[in-house]
């Protein structure tokens, strides 16, 4: 008898924990739909999804990193670097444009992973350093920002960012596929189990035979690669390797992951939650725009308040 009550109670809390962000999202969307007539327009929704897809790709990597108990502050810079590399590479064809950013950004992630896994340095500080490094590298490549590489409007690479199916941009599909894949890897492979174990209790994980170093290295490499990919997709979408993007993006990525219910201390989290987090933050941004002539200074106040409301709501639901 007691067993059953315990179980249902546990099940109920679990549902609420999982759905905390989803509840907030549903509420937000419902209210926006009613209040702002243009919110639900297909154009707006398509744009929302597209804007969200770049962030989702980055946040996917961040989800894995955070579940291992780490953090990756370099993604914003790496994202910008990826874009510049893709634009530069597009002179040499589609493959170079796509692979160059993946390889270079993957390497930066690999170095992050190696430093974190092999020396016991804090992820926060290692990735903070590579945030600086990636920006520096970007400036070197662009001659201190003087050169912005353009991507020919008729190149196949641009199609990657601008092409659509039923009006939905390719990046949306790419992000969706990656997220589904990420979810499967996280929940249905031993690598995924290792990710959870690493973040849940590092010392125990070692004793249980989890390859800690390998897991961390893979996770940071993936995060770097995904940030690079997001950068490349953005470059394709913007048709140029813009140097000024990605500043502070790491905080957005962390915010959506955490809003999605992933524990910042590691050991627990879902890809679906992250996707919901991305949707939530993009909807909030969109709503602020829908409000129209809101003083630009108030906009950040409103964003801050929204963020607060969401995390508090989630926390309250979790109780």
């Amino acid at each position: 008898m007691t067993m059953t009550t315990t179980r249902t109670a546990a099940a109920r809390t679990k549902v609420l924990q999982r759905q905390g962000a989803a509840v907030a999202l549903v509420l937000m969307v419902a209210v926006s739909w009613l209040v702002f007539p243009r919110f639900g327009s297909p154009d707006n929704l398509r744009d929302l999804a597209l804007q969200g897809s770049f962030l989702a790709v980055i946040a996917l990597g961040m989800t894995f990193v955070i579940i291992t108990g780490g953090i990756d502050l370099s993604v914003g810079s790496v994202y910008a670097l990826g874009g510049v590399l893709a634009a530069w590479g597009s002179q040499h064809g589609f493959l170079v444009a796509l692979l160059l950013p993946l390889v270079v950004c993957g390497l930066i992630g690999l170095v992050n992973g190696l430093l974190i896994a092999r020396t016991s340095m804090a992820p926060f500080i290692v990735t903070l350093a590579s945030l600086l490094f990636a920006r520096g590298l970007l400036l070197v490549i662009t001659d201190e920002g003087a050169n912005t590489y353009q991507i020919a409007a008729d190149s196949a690479f641009v199609e990657l960012g601008r092409g659509t199916v039923f009006g939905f941009g390719y990046p949306i599909f790419i992000a969706a596929v990656l997220c589904v894949l990420g979810g499967v890897v996280l929940n249905r492979t031993s690598f995924g189990q290792n990710v959870f174990a690493t973040g849940g209790a590092e010392q125990s994980a070692v004793l249980m035979g989890v390859p800690l170093a390998k897991t961390k290295i893979i996770v940071y490499t993936a995060s770097g690669t995904l940030a690079g990919l997001a950068g490349a997709l953005t470059a394709a979408y913007l048709q140029s390797g813009v140097t000024v993007i990605g500043v502070g993006l790491e905080l957005d990525a962390i915010a959506v992951v955490v809003i999605g219910g992933t524990l910042l201390t590691g050991g627990m989290g879902t890809v679906l939650g992250t996707v919901i987090g991305v949707a939530l933050i993009k909807v909030i941004q969109n709503v602020i725009n829908q409000i129209g002539t809101l003083d630009s200074n108030y906009q950040s106040v409103v964003s801050g308040v929204f963020l607060l409301v969401v995390v508090v709501l989630q926390r309250v639901l979790r109780r």
């Binding site: 009550t5 546990a10 499967v184 492979t189 959870f196 174990a197 209790a201 125990s204 524990l263 050991g267």
Partner: protein, 496 residues
């Protein structure tokens, strides 16, 4: 008689930052034997095991292993946030055709496997929601199920209760029958004599004896461990509790109708000054939760706690101020502050008393710390040593010291002798005795029945978070208690 060695250790020395944990240790494990590894707290047992399994590399000496080793470490080493089944099968999950983890099968397998160990909890819930003892059983199941040649168990029973201990010993016997060699570490002599073939005794990091166990009188074994003469030890029995205590009539602690769903359902406990009340029950019967509810660490759905007739607000701080202290069961996650020194850990709860205007007096601190290190015989290189570096038993003593120096009126002890060696255990028990004599009210939770029977003046038996009976005076016998505790077990047995 055993022949082939599966593990051979020769002249191993291991030093940690100046502390010599093992010096020139020889140790041989033969195929198919159950080998007891004993010694005082801090003698080097866990360290030797970690050398055997390759977690520590020795400074010098040789280790030769032959075959797969599977280990249950002293502190539960599983991942609390992952589900029970994920923990059980981490690294060897059942797969579907597509190479993905088959979660349904994993959960089913886990449930079936664990029922063999008497665990009926939901295998999909996070491991951390299980009681420590249940976690220990999960760890056991995990270790045993990886077809190993050697299974090492570092104090596997320290958080188990009699019924679970039996299950575990059964498992050991089965392993033994199937030819697996076992290293068994425990401070509980009964168990050792029931299942072990041979014994190796460590003292201060040296191996002082190795040989067949059965030929070795119990008292001599203890004398080997402690390095004291047999005569000296003969004075003590299995437990060191004295006579019944004389208790005042006015209860100092009254807990009425404590309810914290779903684990505690209306528990009443009263303790008078100078009285030791034992809390008995099966794993998961709600003993820890009751203690936590009393000290205000659990949100209550109902009930009140009165200290000397005055209601106590429901938070730990207020309870502490009212004179309630609690020694937590899980010292790793709820007890020690790993980064702080032994000194800082000991005085932590007593700080307000040791400071003036928020500034801590160093001399008062040192005096108290020195007193307790000597009185509890805590083995440290200096009070400034990090508490995380101490052996499990010594950490336990540090925590005990932390509570004693707050000079509480009511002491809640959840498994106070868990993982403590025979020598220290007797001391702790004697201490509890002495404290009660001085007028302290003690609530004692223990999975060792003898400890409860000898130590407590009165027993409250819990079942499913409710009081199933109270035993006093002549009723304090093994039979009575088992009957009260095990009503459910009988039911279970009937239904099988």
């Amino acid at each position: 008689m055993p022949t082939e060695p599966v593990i051979e250790v020769a002249g191993v020395t291991k030093t940690f930052a100046g502390v010599r944990a093992l010096s020139d240790v020889d140790f041989t494990l033969h195929r198919g034997e159950v080998h007891a590894l004993v010694g005082e707290n801090g003698a080097g047992k866990s360290t030797l095991i970690k050398v055997l399994t390759g977690i520590h590399t020795p400074d010098s000496g040789h280790v030769r292993r032959d075959g797969r080793i599977s280990t249950i470490y002293q502190e539960v080493n599983l991942v609390p946030l992952m589900s029970v089944s994920a923990n059980l099968f981490l690294g060897r999950e059942p797969r579907t055709r597509f190479g993905l983890i088959d979660r349904a099968r994993r959960d089913a397998d886990a449930a079936e496997l664990l029922s063999g160990y008497g665990i009926t909890a939901d295998v999909r819930s996070p491991l951390g929601t299980l009681a420590v003892g249940e976690q220990q059983m999960v760890a056991l199941a995990r270790a045993v199920e990886t077809d190993a040649d050697v299974v090492i168990m570092d104090e596997p029973t320290s958080s188990l209760e009699p019924r679970e201990v039996e299950t575990l010993l059964d498992v050991v016997r089965k392993l033994h029958e199937s030819g697996i060699a076992i290293i068994y570490v425990s401070h509980r002599m009964d168990e050792l004599y029931r299942i072990c073939d041979r014994v190796t005794v460590l003292r201060d990091g040296r191996s002082v004896h190795s040989g067949p166990l059965r030929d070795l009188p119990r008292i001599e074994l203890v004398s080997l461990m402690l390095g004291r003469s047999v005569n000296e030890i003969e004075k003590h029995g299995t437990t060191a509790f004295g006579e019944d205590h004389h208790a005042d009539t006015q209860p100092v602690l009254e807990a009425r109708g404590l309810t914290s769903k779903p684990r505690v359902n209306g528990v009443d406990v009263t303790i008078r000054p100078g009285e030791v009340v034992g809390l008995a029950g099966l794993l998961g019967s709600g003993r820890t939760e009751t203690a936590k509810a009393i000290i205000g660490a659990l949100p209550l759905d109902g009930g009140t706690v009165l200290v000397a007739g005055t209601p106590v607000p429901r938070n730990v701080k207020a309870a502490t101020r009212a004179g309630i202290s609690m020694l937590a069961e899980d010292r790793k996650t709820e007890g020690i502050i790993p980064n702080l020194s032994v000194r800082e850990n000991i005085v932590l709860a007593a700080l307000p008393r040791l400071s003036r205007f928020g500034v801590i007096s160093r001399s008062k601190q040192d005096r108290i710390v020195d007193t307790f290190i000597t009185r509890l015989r805590i083995k440290v290189s200096s009070p400034e040593q990090k508490v995380a570096e101490l052996s499990g038993g010594n950490q336990q003593k540090v925590l005990l010291a932390r509570w004693l120096c707050t000079e509480p009126r009511i002491l809640l002890l959840d498994e106070p002798t868990r993982g403590i060696d025979v020598g220290a255990k007797a001391e702790v028990q004697a201490l509890i005795d002495e404290l009660a004599r001085e007028g302290l009210a003690v609530l004692l939770i223990s999975s060792e029945l003898d400890e409860l029977l000898d130590g407590a003046d009165r027993l409250v038996v819990l079942r499913d978070g409710a009081v199933a009976g109270e035993l006093e005076g002549a009723e304090l016998t093994r039979e009575h208690v088992l009957k009260a505790i095990a009503a459910e077990v009988m039911d279970d047995a009937d239904s099988h």
